[in-house]
């Protein structure tokens, strides 16, 4: 069969296509972005016309995927971990409605926060929603597991959470592929009220969900991705989940282990397998990427069972991504080290590209704010968050997608003046519009600067839903057209832009300033594409 060199993200995408996927839904977010990007550039997806367009945000993506599943077709939705917070409402309720066609929700966690605001562990969402969760350890397993996840989803009519972490998402290895399966035919749910969560129906559905739980535990227990290898030394057993298993094997090899090793691959955690290893060992070491979820459930509140080593007792660091050296240390093995980084090496944070409009927008904003003693800039998530770094040092917050608008509203409520929001175009259509409606309805004194580079820059330049629609959206939401101002953030317009910003700060009501200049990266890419087509 065919072999391809694939990122973990790409292996998941290719597997979904080979498993007869009909619809892929996503909003970009590191480290999950490449799943959708792979499907968008796949000939296989094009031939079959698999749905593969970006959604406005993770919630709309999740709901659209549920609609695809309602029609009996296989659907997948992908997002970064914090995206699942945005999609939490449909996600939790999709466990209540259940699915029709197989539905996989991929959530990519980012331990060590390489490109994120936090390192939340998506497995907790599986517990929260009462749904199964798969966690692959490598690229081939990620590929294989997608087929099983679709099957399990259809067998129990439940969505399946598919949890990966940055390292697997963004590491490439050879993956051997299966023969592609055909898509499912359109078929509506047998039960006409399956998706109608009126209390009387929801109560019944919840009982089903609770009843299914132990069956799911049994399914996960039978999963071929778990493994147990006995060892000669029963002083300690090792339980390793997902990618942590690879770091373990890197250190102890794949055979002739000293300690018994149990590899786990999903949730609900298979109690029998865990009991088997804890029963034969005096203690157990738990290796898992992210939060100590297996560890916490083994310890329980009383923690009076066998001795447990893991993140909670400091054997493994409490936070941050694992690596083979950390795992070696937790095993008490000798580790090697090259040499210290010389002190002259300076940190090199990301920065605005040369020719970035965000930079000129910030320069104008800094000068406009010089006329005020108080005042804060609530910023948002995207390339423009780099306005936090020197020499700009010009933002006071970055919390979650859309929060700049609503925090500015709350601060204006508290009497702050001027209360300024800086938000990117894609972030605005993701979660800023509803906040702007709040501001309009209340007549808040806020100035919303939409720094519009006409792309989703931070994640690599995906199309932005906002492109060409911003003025219309803002006036549609009720912003007075006199206070929707368009500026071009270029150095030559600096004085004029400062003036416009000051005018709008002084307006006691909602103002929107759209600072429009195409992202230098996407502009260059387009230019290159044009010349190479010639």
């Amino acid at each position: 069969m065919k072999n391809l060199l694939l990122l973990g993200d790409e292996a998941i995408a290719q597997a979904a296509l080979d498993a007869g996927l009909s619809g892929m839904y996503a909003y970009p977010g590191t480290p999950s972005t490449e799943i959708m990007e792979y499907i968008q550039s796949s000939e296989q997806a094009e031939e079959r016309n698999v749905h593969r367009e970006w959604s406005a945000n993770e919630k709309t993506a999740m709901e659209a995927a549920l609609g695809m599943s309602y029609c009996g077709k296989r659907a997948m939705v992908a997002m970064k971990h914090v995206g699942l917070n945005v999609a939490a409402d449909p996600f939790i309720n999709s466990a209540m409605t259940g699915v029709n066609g197989g539905l996989i929700v991929v959530s990519a966690d980012d331990p060590s926060m390489h490109s994120s605001q936090n390192e939340q562990d998506s497995r907790f969402y599986a517990k929260f929603a009462n749904v199964p969760c798969f966690e692959p350890s490598d690229q081939q397993e990620a590929y294989e597991m997608i087929f099983d996840a679709f099957e399990l989803s259809e067998k129990y009519k439940l969505p399946v959470l598919f949890r990966i972490t940055t390292r697997l998402a963004h590491s490439r290895a050879s993956v051997s592929l299966r023969e592609p399966m055909p898509e499912k035919k359109l078929s509506l749910p047998a039960d006409p009220v399956q998706f109608v969560l009126l209390p009387a129906i929801a109560r019944k559905k919840y009982k089903y969900l609770i009843d299914a739980f132990e069956k799911l535990r049994y399914e996960i227990r039978l999963s071929k991705y778990n493994s147990f290898k006995d060892g000669s030394n029963r002083d300690m057993g090792i339980i390793a989940c997902g990618i942590a298993y690879n770091y373990l094997i890197e250190n102890i090899g794949s055979s002739n282990h000293e300690y018994p090793v149990l590899k786990l691959s999903g949730y609900p955690f298979p109690k029998d397998l865990i009991k088997d290893i804890t029963g034969r060992c005096k203690s157990v070491l738990i290796l898992e990427e992210g939060a100590p979820m297996v560890e916490e459930s083994l310890r329980g509140l009383l923690d009076d069972g066998i001795k447990i080593y893991g993140r909670m007792d400091g054997t493994v660091p409490r936070d941050g991504e694992l690596n083979p050296t950390i795992v070696a240390k937790s095993l008490g093995m000798e580790t090697s080290f090259g040499s210290e980084v010389p002190s002259l090496v300076k940190s090199r944070p990301p920065s605005f590209c040369k020719g970035c409009g965000h930079a000129d927008m910030f320069n104008a904003l800094i000068d406009a704010l010089k006329f005020y003693k108080t005042g804060s800039v609530f910023a948002d998530i995207g390339c423009y968050t780099l306005g936090a770094l020197p020499p700009y040092n010009s933002i006071n917050s970055c919390v979650d997608m859309g929060a700049s608008v609503t925090m500015a509203v709350g601060a204006a409520d508290a009497g702050l003046f001027p209360s300024v929001s800086v938000i990117g175009d894609s972030t605005f259509t993701h979660s800023g519009m509803t906040g702007l409606l709040d501001a309009v309805v209340k007549g808040s004194s806020v100035t919303i600067i939409i720094s519009d580079n006409s792309t989703t820059g931070m994640t690599g330049g995906q199309d932005s839903h906002a492109t060409g629609r911003l003025e219309q959206i803002c006036s549609g939401l009720g912003v007075d057209e006199k206070h929707i101002r368009l500026i071009i953030p270029l150095r030559k317009n600096h004085e004029e832009n400062v003036l416009i910003m000051r005018e709008e700060f002084e307006h006691r009501g909602v103002s929107v300033i759209i600072a429009q200049r195409e992202c230098i990266q996407t502009a260059t890419k387009k230019k290159r594409a044009v010349t190479s087509n010639r």
């Binding site: 390489h114 373990l248 040499s339 010389p342 300076k346 990301p350 920065s351």
Partner: protein, 191 residues
Amino acid sequence: MKTDIIISGVGGQGILSIAATIGLAAVANKLYLKQSEVHGMSQRGGDVQSHFRLSDKPIASDLIPYGKADIIISVEPMESLRYLPWLSKNGWIVTNSVPMVNIPDYPAAEDIINEIKKIKNHIIIDADSIAKEAGSSKAGNIVILGAASPFIQMPYSSLEDAIRKLFGKKGEEIVEINLKALKAGREASGK
């Protein structure tokens, strides 16, 4: 056989092309490989690195343990030093000498070179000039790959084939420039 490589540089300098070239060659040689990349925020002019592992046996970890890298291939001199904790005692540093200055406190270039020279096995070349001579200032990454090629346990011709494959879509001229860059880098390494 096993080669563990750290490829380093600054976002935008083309370290993923180095990785892709070695990757294609590894597949042609039927070797196992794992290649961990940086996508996301750091690609905006921040420090970026790729852990590249090659072996004739299956590879478990996507990451190289500290002290186990056989080579650091760096497109930027200061960045080559950032990964010293990973370099094995007998490992090699192969680096460009031309700094990429995009931070205000970038150290003196001379001090960086002196620091690199403290590592027993080092090759420092001006990849930018060599690339220009080969026909494109953009091919510095491939020059560095050429300089590191003697330490990558694969036939040199398989790297050339990989370049043909990788740059084939961009036309014969680009392929030739990169083949020239690879060769010039290899010669400059003096190995």
